[in-house]
């Protein structure tokens, strides 16, 4: 074989590799027979192009494009200014009906956003490709989180001030947990959003866990646990303190965090 031919072969090979890479990364999807939907939102909660789309927790596609459409109005005259175009694989198509709901959710520690579609009932019609649908605007989760950060900040303050007097700390923790519970119940009542309620349910469970933890604190293992808490605080320390503070100020939450 001539040298030129071999070079050409290598060139082709590398081209195939690039295409393969693009395919694995999901940039080109030649074999798919996806259908697309336009979901309308007023608040996208940090959704990005390329974020996954899930039905019943299974990944079935991704967000292709997010665009601003300032003048758009739905049939019932509601102004919806964001158009999120999503690709959905064919296999999941049958599960998505006209009564499906389109949520924006948060997954994992890092907080990757994804678009969750609730399965519709079989009675309802299927969508056809390119249809428009109104999505459920997500709750302002960031505010809720910042309040939990405020809680964490208070715990840190407490531990710092009361080093040595474990019982005091426990008492304070107890008080805090109850307060948190109350807040959550209050929030539960005021919130009309169903999804919000689901989140709060979770939060209540968490605070129950905290209560259990404080119960544990009273046992013999108290000192171990205390040491663990301190270690945790030390590990938290290098997290960008000033940046978080700035974030809170922007959100209008007065959190006292003493890093």
């Amino acid at each position: 074989m001539k040298a030129e031919a071999k070079v050409g072969l290598l060139f082709l090979g590398s081209l195939i590799l690039v295409v393969g890479f693009a395919y694995v990364m999901g940039i080109i999807t030649p074999f798919s027979n996806n259908k697309s939907l336009n979901v309308r939102y007023n608040y996208a909660g940090g959704l990005e192009e390329g974020s996954p789309v899930r039905v019943m927790g299974i990944k079935v596609g991704k967000v292709r494009r997010i665009e601003f459409e300032p003048g758009f109005k739905t049939k019932n005259d509601e102004e919806v200014k964001l158009r999120v175009e999503i690709d959905v694989e064919k296999k999941a198509w049958a599960s998505i009906r006209k009564d499906s709901k389109f949520f924006i959710n948060l997954a994992g520690v890092i907080g990757e956003k994804f678009l969750e579609i609730s399965p519709g009932s079989t009675n309802a019609e299927e969508f056809s490709s390119g249809d428009s649908v109104r999505g459920e605007d997500p709750p302002r989760i960031d505010q809720l989180i910042s309040q939990s950060y405020g809680l964490a900040g208070k715990i840190i303050e407490l531990v710092n001030k009361n080093e040595g007097s474990i019982s005091n700390v426990i008492a304070q923790l107890d008080k805090l947990t109850t307060n948190f519970n109350k807040t959550l119940i209050l929030l539960d009542k005021t919130s009309k959003n169903k999804d919000m309620a689901r989140l709060l349910d979770n939060a209540i469970k968490i605070s129950d866990d905290v209560a259990y933890l404080t119960g544990n604190l009273r046992s013999k293992k108290a000192e171990d646990t205390y040491a663990l808490v301190q270690k945790l605080l030390f590990r938290l320390e290098p997290l960008d303190g000033p940046a978080i503070k700035k974030f809170f100020q922007e959100e209008g939450v007065k959190a006292k965090i003493s890093f």
Binding site: A3, E4, V7
Partner: protein, 245 residues
Amino acid sequence: MFEHFVSFTEMTTHAIFSAFRPPVRIKESFQQLYFVANQSLIIIVFCVCFAAMVTILESSFHMRLVVQNDSMVPGFAAMLILRELGAVVTALLLTSRVGAGIAAEVGLMQTTEQIDALKMLGIDPVQYLVLPRLFACIFGGMILTIVADLVCIYSAMLVSDMYLGFSPAMFISGMRRFVHFKDLIFSVIKGASFGVVIPLVSCHFGFRCKSGAEGVGLATTNSVVTSSIVIIIIDFVLSYLFTHF
């Protein structure tokens, strides 16, 4: 030092201008490309596989140290491979294989007065010798960087499957979160830039080669060292630039 810089710039501008003048040595260029790309392929793939293994091992060590778990190793390793490792390891290997080879070859031509013979025949030695090598190294660098990147990621995937217990699917989904297609493009741009450096530096030292065995040895050594340093500096500049995209 300064004098080197001047004559290097002179040669480079000369090479660039003569690129737009006939004759173009297409056959010779492909011969060189064959030498640069095809014949370095095995050695680069081999080395990059080992580099991938080390990257995975070390990333997992550090992730466990800092975050106490290594769930993000695939993403980070893939990112590191695409942004730095693939292009730089390829370039350094090309420096030693191709760069040193060019310096020795051109240096030998200089000491045996073949370059002067070319001039006597009315052939521009820069156009005759440098351009085909420049072409070959730029394209070879790009192709080899692509191959190295993807082979490296693939072997990283295998290693993390065997050693850390990440299935390939987990690896790919982890990779998707941190790596973008533009990273591969940046990597190829790096490969091409390094490909510019290697033949120019090597030819520069080759042309200035003093006679005798000692001269050839010195020219080869200097070209390897200078290319490596310039590659690292250019890598720094490009990495810095790419963070703005």
